[in-house]
C-alpha cells in the first residue's frame, strides 16, 4: 500500500483509526493501572510491616 492510501483506508479511515487508537488507549490503560495497583500494594504492605514492627516493640 502506498503512504497516502494507508492513512486513507479506502475511505474508512474515520472508523478504522479510532478503533486502533482506542485499542492503544485500552492496552496502555491496562499497563498503567496495573503498575499503579502494584505500587499502591507495595506501599500498603510496607506500612503494615512498619506498624507490626512498632507494635512488637
Amino acid at each position: 500500500m502506498s503512504g497516502g492510501s494507508f492513512w486513507y483506508m479506502g475511505g474508512y479511515a474515520r472508523y478504522v483509526w479510532p478503533c486502533v487508537g482506542f485499542a492503544c488507549v485500552v492496552l496502555a490503560w491496562n499497563l498503567w493501572s496495573a503498575r499503579r495497583h502494584l505500587a499502591a500494594a507495595k506501599v500498603r504492605a510496607a506500612r503494615a510491616l512498619a506498624m507490626a514492627a512498632s507494635e512488637a516493640r
Binding site: F6, G10, C19, F22, A23, R44, A45
Partner: protein
C-alpha cells in the same frame, strides 16, 4: 510434577514467578501485536466486500475472544479458590476482572465502529454485540460484589461464586441471544463473522490473538503481584519481596 502444582498455590512462589515472567510476556506481546498491526493495517490486501473497513477485525476479534477467555479464567480461578480454599485463585480472579472488562469494552466499541460502515448503524442488536454487552454487565457485577464487602476474604468468595454462576450462564446467554436475533434478522445476516480469509490476512490476525494473550499474561503478572501482596500483607516473605 505435582510439586509444581503445590507451588502454584504458594503466594510467595507465585509472586516471584509473576515478577520474573512479566517482562518476557510484555516484550513478546509488543512484538506480536506490533507485527499484527503493521501487517494487518498496512500489508494485508483489502477485503473485496468490506474494503479496508475489515481491518477493524485485527482489533475487534482478538479483544472479543480475550474478553471471553478472561472471564472463563476468572471463573475457573475463583471456583478453584472456593473449592480447595486456595487464596492465590482469588488473587488471579481479582487481577483478571478489570483486564477482561476493559477488553470487553474494547470489543464493544470496535464492534460498534465496524457496524457503521457495514450495517449503517453504530449499534445493532446483533447476537455478538448483545452477548458482549451482557458479558460486560457480568464483569461489572463481579467487580462490584467483590468491593462491596468489608471483609475482603468474604468478598473474594462471594465474587468467585458469582463468577462461576455467571460462567454457567454464558453459553445460555449466548444461545438465547442468537435465537432471539435470528427472529429479527432479515437480509442483514452478520457479516461480522469471519470473512473468507486469505493467508496474508490470516497471519496478522493470528499474531494479534497471540499478542493479546501475551499481553493479558503480562498485565496479569503485574496485577497478580499487587493482589497477592494485598492478601498476604502480614506475611514474613513480603518484607523481602517489596524491597525490589
Amino acid at each position: 510434577m505435582w510439586t509444581w502444582f503445590y507451588k502454584l498455590a504458594s503466594p510467595p512462589y507465585v509472586y516471584g514467578v509473576a515478577a520474573a515472567l512479566m517482562p518476557w510476556f510484555l516484550g513478546l506481546a509488543v512484538l506480536t501485536i506490533g507485527y499484527g498491526l503493521i501487517a494487518g493495517l498496512g500489508f494485508a490486501p483489502p477485503d473485496y466486500q468490506q474494503g479496508d473497513a475489515f481491518r477493524i477485525i485485527y482489533v475487534h476479534v482478538p479483544s472479543a475472544w480475550m474478553s471471553e477467555f478472561i472471564y472463563t479464567t476468572m471463573a475457573l480461578a475463583g471456583g478453584i479458590a472456593l473449592i480447595w480454599r486456595i487464596k492465590v485463585g482469588h488473587a488471579v480472579a481479582a487481577a483478571s476482572a478489570p483486564i477482561g472488562a476493559s477488553l470487553t469494552l474494547l470489543a464493544l466499541v470496535t464492534g460498534s465502529m465496524w457496524g457503521k460502515p457495514m450495517w449503517g448503524t453504530y449499534w445493532a442488536w446483533d447476537p455478538r454485540l448483545t452477548s458482549e454487552l451482557i458479558l460486560l454487565f457480568l464483569y461489572v457485577g463481579v467487580m462490584s460484589l467483590r468491593s462491596a464487602f468489608e471483609d475482603p476474604a468474604r468478598g473474594d468468595r462471594a465474587a468467585a461464586l458469582l463468577a462461576v454462576v455467571g460462567a454457567v450462564n454464558v453459553p445460555i446467554i449466548h444461545y438465547s441471544v442468537v435465537w432471539w436475533n435470528s427472529l429479527h434478522q432479515g437480509a442483514t445476516v452478520a457479516k461480522l463473522g469471519k470473512p473468507s480469509i486469505a493467508g496474508s490476512m490470516l497471519w496478522p490476525l493470528l499474531s494479534m490473538f497471540v499478542g493479546f494473550m501475551l499481553f493479558y499474561g503480562a498485565v496479569l503478572c503485574l496485577r497478580l503481584q499487587g493482589e497477592v501482596l494485598n492478601r498476604e500483607r502480614q506475611s514474613a516473605w513480603v518484607r523481602e519481596a517489596i524491597k525490589s
